[in-house]
Symmetry: C2
Amino acid sequence: MRLKELASHLGLSQTTVSRALNGYPEVNEETRQRVLDAARRYDYRPNASARRLATGRSGAIGIVLPTDRNLLLDPHYVEFQAGLGERLMKDEIDIVLSPSRAGDEMATYRRMAVSSRVDAVILSSPTVGDPRVALLTELGLPFVVHGRADSPIDHAWLDIDNEGAFRHATKHLLDLGHRRIGLINGETRQTFAIDRERGFRNALAAHGVAADERLIAEGIMTDETGYRLTARFLAEAPRPTALLVSSMMMSLGALRAIRSAGLVLGRDVSMIAHDDVIPFLNPDAMVPTMSTTRSSIRAAGTRVAELLMEIVADGRAPDSIHELWPVDLVIRGSTGPAPRD
Amino acid sequence: MRLKELASHLGLSQTTVSRALNGYPEVNEETRQRVLDAARRYDYRPNASARRLATGRSGAIGIVLPTDRNLLLDPHYVEFQAGLGERLMKDEIDIVLSPSRAGDEMATYRRMAVSSRVDAVILSSPTVGDPRVALLTELGLPFVVHGRADSPIDHAWLDIDNEGAFRHATKHLLDLGHRRIGLINGETRQTFAIDRERGFRNALAAHGVAADERLIAEGIMTDETGYRLTARFLAEAPRPTALLVSSMMMSLGALRAIRSAGLVLGRDVSMIAHDDVIPFLNPDAMVPTMSTTRSSIRAAGTRVAELLMEIVADGRAPDSIHELWPVDLVIRGSTGPAPRD
DNA sequence: GAAATCATTCAAAGCGCTTTCAATCGACCT
DNA sequence: AGGTCGATTGAAAGCGCTTTGAATGATTTC
């Protein structure tokens, strides 16, 4: 069923039918009802390409998907995407995934922009001075960064307070008497990891405790990295009595390492992990339950979608968008007072 | 830069330029070169919507994304998507994700088809007699099922040999002397889980061993389910000496339960888990290393993309597409001879 | 009662491509 | 020489929608 047919069925012009369907005010209410009824009856759906061509808007937002970076291997990513989708669904906006090899990423963004395939894009996993910010700004393709790119160019971003989260968590451990605290971080190419390390160091400094560089390490956020780094830390003498871990996935490995060393989590070693609220990594289901810094990555996805819509549909100025979300510190069974020796 | 401008820059008609760019044979080679050079120089990119409108093809394939089913929470899904993307990238085909609430799924497929947003779709996690197969067939929207829908309607599918995989794995355990073997399966709504259970039972039957229904259980494939079901099995008397587990994620929980019971994996209890080759769940990195039935879900994604292209671009008949992939049985440290009691 | 205003509706002009159908120009054939 | 054919190019007609500018009656206004 095409607009033309629908119009002739109704004995109306395409113009009127189109307006009725799109909610323009100048059409008679009675006419609009007739049109709406007919559209439903014939299951009419406007052709997406035609509409896009006519309006110049694509009705889609883009994500460039590096096929070989770890973004993809990452459950966080899926969860974020789910949040995104939840919001976008309401306005029937599609997500266009454009896979791209690591080197071609910039070209892919360019392609998306020039071929007007999407109205806006999302930047995930920003690095320091991320070149994508400059590119997109130059291309005039609206975007929201999930995280912060720390770029000289002002841009729209939504981030969680990583510094504050890890500062509070560290402070909590210090208050429990811990002095040797290890940090198992994500890769410090990414801004969130830098911020967390800063929070960690700030808390130590504020307490007059010197940071031990041998107890600060980073890596991709996998179970395996968690295991390896924790095992390394525990081999130090004296060993750390508490651990700050950047993801629940890593905390799984960390826990394995702690057990392998014959130690008990929450007694010999305390741990606080960052929890992005991923359904299959539930801190309450762990044994012992895991103390966390918590912020739902899914909710962030929803909000980023919302912001994107505000920019594209309502013309909101991107540089007015800077949201920093607070992070909860949830104390559970994996933290306890520092053991005395 | 628009086609029109480009053409006038070159002193050619749009027709010729369009043909040159799209590789039609009737244009002079010299002319084609000039056009290609100019296109590169001006960084010309055809407008995606216009092209789609003109050709009637959307240059995208669709995935309906149930926002509240567990498909999403699932790393398998991401990995599959990565494989898909890898292949689609080559032809600059987009993936359109259409989020949808569980109830609306069918409507979303319908919308995708009628608005010709995509040229084809992918069906994941098929259930027995999956209604989507009938719907898509009726709508005339090409699709490939990842898995098998076990529907009366013939359709394109790619699946791994789940029955064979679990049959072989079970046989291997039987050959090692195990007689009490537990099965921790994915939800038996899904065809893959049914096939695995069948393989398991077939192997037992072939060996003349009666299946113990108390040692067969299912659930969503999470760490938590793995823990819970394993703990339950180990409480039986006599307890199972071996376990077949449907995912690496579950095997993590299973391992925890085994340890909690004071047992040693690979000695007191053997385990074989299904490995979809997810980068952050590496069976070689586990302690002990995990015996698995292995088939790369990413490779499956790549191949599904390939098949989709064959249907859409080359007009291959969907009902000629039935691929059943064999599954490797990889024996590592988590399996050993049955303990004698 | 004529002019002006308002509420509705429509015809037609794009949006930027692809593709059909014709036109042109030498080369080739009889 | 007149006609045919193959190679190359172009003009114009869509693809299905939105939107501009105009038209039509009906309703007010002076």
